[in-house]
Amino acid sequence: MSSRALRQPLVLRITSATFLAVWCLVAAFPIFWIMVMSFKSPVDAFSSNPLNVIFGPSTRAGGNGLSLLDIIFGIIVIWATVRIATKKLPGMVEAYSPAGQKWVGWVIGGLALVLGFLVTFFAILPAILDVLNPMLGPLGRDIIGLTTEHYKTVWVERGFSNNFKNSMIVTTGVVVVSLTFGTLAGYGLARSGSRLAFAILITALIFRALPHSVLVAGYLPVFISSSEWLAPILGENAPTLYGKPFAVIAVLVAINQPFTIWMLRSFFQNIPAELDEAARVDGCSHFQAFRRVIMPVMWPGVITTGLFSFLLGYNDFLVTSLLLDAQNQTMVPAIAGMFSRETTTTDQVVAVAAAVSITAPLFFLVMLFQRQIVSGLTAGAVKG
């Protein structure tokens, strides 16, 4: 809409920009604020004075803080990393990675960058600053209270890395299985005008309306006793489904199927049927047509739908908290477990740090994929 006839008056543009700024503030503030809280001592984090939360006097009194110098150096390192990532890295990947396997280059390059950043930021930088700070007087004095101890508690003492691993297993499983089944079904439904297809769609929609708590509570006794009722079929190897990630993946995939097939169906409907019909005239079966003609052009829609599946698997609480045991616990139920009968204020700040830790991967994911989300949606992944 760049045409001159559609150009807007200044007043409108300013109003629009102001509202946009306000909206961005509203959207980002809560997340920003809990991030700030996670770096403070319990007294500061729950202070009702915002300045105390930001500057953290009691955290600083506890000997944890950042000086002006620390902040400047920190920003320089972060800025440099971003520069390298956006300007240098693509070129280096182009130059050094083997032809046709650029993704290997990206993986290696990305890992190297992350590793380099971590070493510089958490090992080299503190060492340098420990020497510099005392020499510089007022510049080197702590001005902002900041402590990473809650993150240490979360990741080291509470073994959050295990929960993180479990989350990754469940989420990856959900995304892969959900998309495999979903693309097949979505394609089938899009290309069939039969009444049955429509009936399946409407039934799926009604399934989506089910209150999940009812479904999930029904699974628990069945899953726990599964080795007993599966024994006649599978013999001694009958597994106990309770506590197994694959069982949870299956449940989450099923719960998510209605939404997935609706989205993918409308996406496939926007791919002209002539494409695969032409392939069929050339003697391909439906499956060959799907593989050769549809698969190459379906990725925008699949990525968008996959992101929704990812969110569902990653954010789920109801299913994972009930059907997984402590050893296979994912991150979201684990954070709820931090609120027990004896929750202290410190525990709450630890939970804040855990909450930020859970949100961070989502943050990067959206940062990476936001363009694909929009293009997938534009290409018709949702069409009523």
Binding site: P42, I224, A326, G337, S340, R341, E342, Q348
Partner: protein, 401 residues
């Protein structure tokens, strides 16, 4: 920074070295399922020192335990329960009597630790918990107020504190709708000497004692933060720590946090005393937490599980975690923090009357009382609606004909 880390690492190695002294080397794979608060963490950590042991500290344990213990074989050998959560396991016969194991490996247990039903020991208790009065000694001394011994005196004191303008809301209370609010009513009703049921599990709360209990609760809310219907014990504790309240009838397990320098601004100023008296008993109820053992496992597993549990609940563990709970285990030194708990218990506090009907009663009380506190219903209507809700639910569960 790095030096600190290394030091912390060295320390943790040293402490774990000290811990590794588990007298029993376990070779049977064992698992436990319990709630996740600090005392359980301490006990299960100590059990893990014996090897081959995995603890699940799970918030959903209440929902999972009955099913997991009913599986054949049971998914967990050791379970953590309290007064009420033992009921479903006991009813279903999925936990085993422990008398022979106690005779063999549990001679050192105090008689108080043996939870008996019909003469047989079914659980080994490790700690107790109850509500008692916590107050700001400095505020009461400044205003020349005696330590309150009843709710009437507590309200009187609250009035003076509010008039003096020391704090806005002198009283704190765990009045969050649901389990907490139900528990508050139960404490008060027990304090009035009430009985919850008549024959045939019929409800018996719509009477003078029930009304009296409700009226006390409403009178207390006058001096509470108006957001009392969302305030749980974590929140009350935080209000105490931030110096926003002066008195509360709060769980004994919360006492230690008042003196935690990292989060409390009132270190050394909060003193524990007996819970306020009702007309017959203190407005409090005595809870215990302890371990049970699955019926659906072999006797060899049971022997191993029992020995591991005994190692987890030993004197050494108590000495390392003295302030984490009011332990029943030998070796516990009752500090000033436990004073209020002992006084309350000795004043004749009733044990929480856990039973099938009580489970339903607690839930309907927790859901129903807020209507009275917000002024939507009067006391009699509230109580009769709660009784009606109880009967519907109890009929569905088969407890009432």
């Amino acid at each position: 920074m790095l030096k600190k880390l290394a030091l912390a690492g060295a320390l943790s190695v040293m402490t774990s070295g000290a811990w590794a002294a588990c007298a029993y080397e376990n070779t049977t794979p064992l698992k436990s399922l319990s709630a996740g608060f600090e005392a359980w963490k301490a006990v299960t950590d100590a059990m893990a020192e014996c090897g081959n042991f995995q603890a699940s500290l799970d918030q959903e344990f209440r929902e999972k335990q009955p099913e997991a213990f009913a599986a054949k074989p049971a998914l967990y050998q050791i379970g953590g329960v309290a007064n009420s959560t033992m009921i479903p396991l006991l009813n279903a016969g999925t936990i085993r009597p422990l008398d022979d194991l106690v005779a063999k490996y549990g001679q050192h247990l105090a008689p108080n630790q043996l939870i008996k039903v019909d003469g047989k020991t079914y659980a080994i208790a490790m700690m107790v918990n109850l509500q008692h009065l916590m107050y700001r000694e400095d505020i009461l001394n400044d205003l020349g107020i005696e330590v309150p011994t009843t709710y009437a005196e507590m309200i009187e004191a609250a009035k003076k504190i509010k008039e003096a303008g020391v704090v806005d809301y002198p009283i704190g209370g765990t009045f969050k709708t649901g389990w907490n609010l139900g528990e508050e009513f139960i404490n008060n009703y027990l304090g009035e000497g009430g009985e919850f049921f008549t024959d045939g599990n019929m409800p018996n709360i719509n009477n003078e004692k029930g009304v009296a209990a409700l009226e006390v609760m409403k009178a207390l809310t006058e001096y509470m933060d108006p957001e009392y219907l969302v305030s749980d014990s974590t929140y009350v504790q935080q209000q105490f720590q931030q110096g926003k309240i002066a008195m509360a009838n709060l769980w004994a397990s919360r006492a230690a946090a008042m003196d935690d320098e990292a989060e409390s601004q009132v270190v050394g100023k909060v003193v524990m005393a007996a819970a306020p008296m009702g007309s017959e008993r203190p407005a409090s109820s005595l809870w215990w937490d302890g371990v049970v053992f699955a019926a659906n496992m072999t006797d060899e597993e049971a022997e191993a599980a029992f020995q591991v549990a005994m190692e987890g609940m030993d004197t050494e563990m108590v000495q390392a975690n003295n302030d984490a709970a009011v332990w029943l285990i030998d070796g516990f030194t009752a500090g000033p923090l436990a004073k209020g708990a002992y006084e309350t218990a000795q004043a004749g506090t009733a044990p929480y009357p856990g039973s099938g009907p009580m489970g339903i009663m607690h839930t309907v009380l927790g859901n129903g009382i807020s209507d009275y506190l917000t002024g939507a219903k009067d006391a009699e209507t509230t109580l009769s609606d709660i009784e009606a809700a109880y009967i519907t639910a109890a009929k569905e569960s088969g407890l009432v004909e």
